[in-house]
């Protein structure tokens, strides 16, 4: 048996490792607490005083509050949509003998491969000129962003959900069908509860991706649907970068992600079964 000291050694090691992991986040916090004049001088690793003015400024800005709401709506909407559709798609891919389904699987994934800059121009043109009903265009709308984010989040959802669904025995579907359930009922009553860990992980990761997305949001929103990450870029200007406020906003973007993330922490280990395909 190992000596009783070992746990403490490993705790010390882990603490050191965690320090390295946390340092950039800590540094972000330090920046948010500093006056601009302090930033470009000899760095001080310790936080000597707490100056909440950057946070106050962020909190008092109605614009940023609006961005926060947009971010929440868009990322939540997208995560739910993407997880739901990815779930249905994976269900179809694992349960039905669709011709060419391996090809379909691969080709849905390729949507995530394109560098995002590629899509900016065509998406702008499509959103403003093609995908519109009368005067309503998808540009600068929350729903537009929710749909646009599907391009890279939906493949991810399919990618993470497929092993989960593969691992659920097909006999369960069949049993439910024989027991008199309709096809929808099977999905809702039998598969959905069993896929919960995988769904939770997919939900949270796609949520985080959407929450953190910058480039598409910056290009495809103007007034009504701007998100918190685009808000950040407003502080990088020719007359100075407001690092303190940016850091404060960053802390604010981190908090909801942190909350959502810790809610599903326990699911992650069971749910993130990338390709843990049996056989």
């Amino acid at each position: 048996m190992r000596s009783r000291k070992t746990p403490w050694l490993s705790v010390a090691l882990w603490s050191l490792l965690s320090f390295v992991t946390l340092f950039p986040i800590y540094w972000m916090f330090v920046i948010s607490m500093k006056a601009p004049v302090e930033l470009f001088s000899t760095p001080d690793i310790l936080l000597r005083s707490l100056d909440w003015s950057n946070y106050v400024e962020v909190l008092e800005s109605p614009t940023l509050r609006g961005y926060m709401v947009n971010s929440l709506v868009i990322s939540s909407g997208n995560a739910v949509l993407v997880t739901a559709l990815g779930f249905l798609a994976c269900y179809a891919l694992t349960r039905y003998d669709l011709p060419g389904k391996e090809s379909i699987f691969f080709w849905t994934i390729t949507n995530r491969m394109a560098p995002p800059a590629v899509f900016l121009l065509p998406l702008f043109l499509l959103l403003t000129q093609v995908y519109r009903i009368g005067d309503f265009s998808l540009l600068d709308t929350r729903i537009g962003m929710i749909l646009v984010y599907c391009t890279f989040n939906l493949p991810f959802a399919i990618w993470t959900l497929r092993p989960t669904l593969d691992a659920i025995p097909k006999e369960l579907d069949e049993a439910a069908l024989v027991d008199g359930a309709s096809a929808w009922r099977v999905i809702w009553d039998v598969i959905l509860p069993l896929a919960r860990p995988g769904l939770a992980v997919t939900l949270i990761l796609t949520w985080v991706f959407a929450w953190n997305e910058y480039l598409l949001a910056a290009t495809l929103t103007n007034f009504t649907a701007r998100t918190l990450t685009t808000g950040l870029s407003e502080y990088v200007t020719t007359t100075g970068t407001a690092w303190g406020i940016m850091a404060a906003i960053s802390v604010f973007t981190l908090i909801p992600a942190l909350i959502v993330f810790s809610l599903v922490q326990r699911h992650i280990v069971t749910g993130l079964t990338f390709g843990a395909v049996k056989g």
């Binding site: 025995p169 006999e171 369960l172 069949e174 049993a175 439910a176 069908l177 024989v178 027991d179 008199g180 359930a181 309709s182 009922r185 009553d189 039998v190 509860p193 069993l194």
Partner: protein
């Protein structure tokens, strides 16, 4: 309860035909066992009856209605899966009540029926447990409970006992049979275990390669297997097959093996010289005076009976006798064959002569 008619059913996967015109009639209240080695289409047939597989050709009717295009839920059937397919996230009670819930029955009725089924299956204590907290046999009973609560027209069993240990299998076999005797519901039961088939069925359908080899009552199959395959499949230990030619020796028809041994026959409807396979079940061989000398290699005493393995001119032969015979490997014993119980098959076609 209902009859099930299967008429000329075929099945193709892509370009491969796996079932070639299967016809089976199942009477109302009958317990029919589909039997055959694994992977020979019997599960497919069962799943077609259930509506889980599409029928490529022919018709399946339940209670006189053609169900080819019906969804499983419209067929009023219940099925027990090999893996039991219990819903892991539902309790025993919820599992058993699920079919009724799907029919939107009132809550009280569901509870009542589940309670009754649980009583029958001795599951009352476990109603609030989850499947993972149950033993194999209990899970199996829950699966059956789920099937019986809804009182379907037809029960379908897909190798329900194959995941159980030998002892449990015997007792569950009895339980299923008792259940059937009580409920009298038309039942189609798939197994690869011929003992299950023999002990449980009213009627056995032996399948191989997507074809029906023979249909009949268990003892009919035992007594008059239609071909080599059925003969070899039904009965345990399996029937001895000895190759030889028909001949007449001392005015009696016999089968002459390659080393010249004459195997007794009683009447044979074929000409001499024809290559045949002579079949005799081990239990129809006794050891005694006047038998054919067989060089014994292994004795397997089980207490109640003894299984003796030997060779007859290079061909394997075994006998099952109720006497306790002890001996040394290598010794020769006289095997007496009851000619009335001998079966004769054409070697080339395998068909019974």
């Amino acid at each position: 309860m209902a009859t099930v008619q299967i008429r000329g059913v075929t099945k193709r996967y892509g370009g491969v035909q796996v079932m070639h015109g299967v016809d089976v009639d199942i009477e109302d209240g009958e317990f029919v066992v589909l039997v055959g080695p694994s992977g020979y289409g019997k599960s497919t047939l069962l799943r077609m009856i259930a509506g889980l597989e599409e029928v490529s050709g022919g018709t399946i009717s339940i209670g006189g209605r053609v169900v080819n295009d019906m969804l499983p839920k419209e067929r009023d059937i219940a099925m027990v899966f090999q893996s039991y397919a219990l819903y892991p996230h539902k309790t025993v009670a919820q599992n058993m009540g699920f079919p009724l819930l799907m029919q939107k029955r009132p809550k009280a009725e569901i509870e009542e029926k589940v309670r009754k089924a649980a009583e029958i299956l001795d599951l009352t204590k476990y109603l609030d447990r989850y499947p993972r907290q149950l033993s194999g046999g209990q899970r199996q009973r829950v699966a059956m409970g789920r099937a019986i609560v809804r009182d379907p027209q037809v029960f379908l069993f897909d190798e329900p006992l194959s995941n159980l240990d030998a002892k449990l299998r015997v007792s569950m076999r009895v339980e299923i049979k008792e259940l059937h005797q009580r409920l009298r519901t038309t039942t189609v039961y798939v197994t690869h275990d011929q003992i299950e088939a023999m002990t449980m069925a009213h009627k056995i359908v032996v399948m191989r390669d997507g074809r029906v080899e023979q249909i009949g009552r268990p003892l009919d199959l035992y007594d008059r297997p239609a071909n080599l395959f059925v003969a070899g499949f039904i009965g345990s230990p399996a029937m001895n097959f000895l190759e030889g030619r028909l001949a007449t020796r001392d005015g009696r028809r016999v089968v002459e093996t390659a080393d010249g041994t004459a195997l007794p026959l009683e009447g044979a409807a074929a000409e001499d010289g024809r290559r045949v396979t002579y079949g005799i079940r081990p239990e129809h061989i006794s050891v005694g005076e006047g038998g054919i000398p067989v060089k014994v290699s292994v004795f397997e005493p089980t207490g109640s009976e003894t299984l003796i393995f030997g060779r007859l001119g290079g061909q394997l032969i075994d006998a099952l006798v109720r006497d306790r015979i002890e001996g040394e490997p290598g010794q020769t014993l006289p095997f007496r064959i009851d000619p009335r119980r001998a079966h004769l098959f054409d070697t080339a076609t395998g068909v019974r002569l």
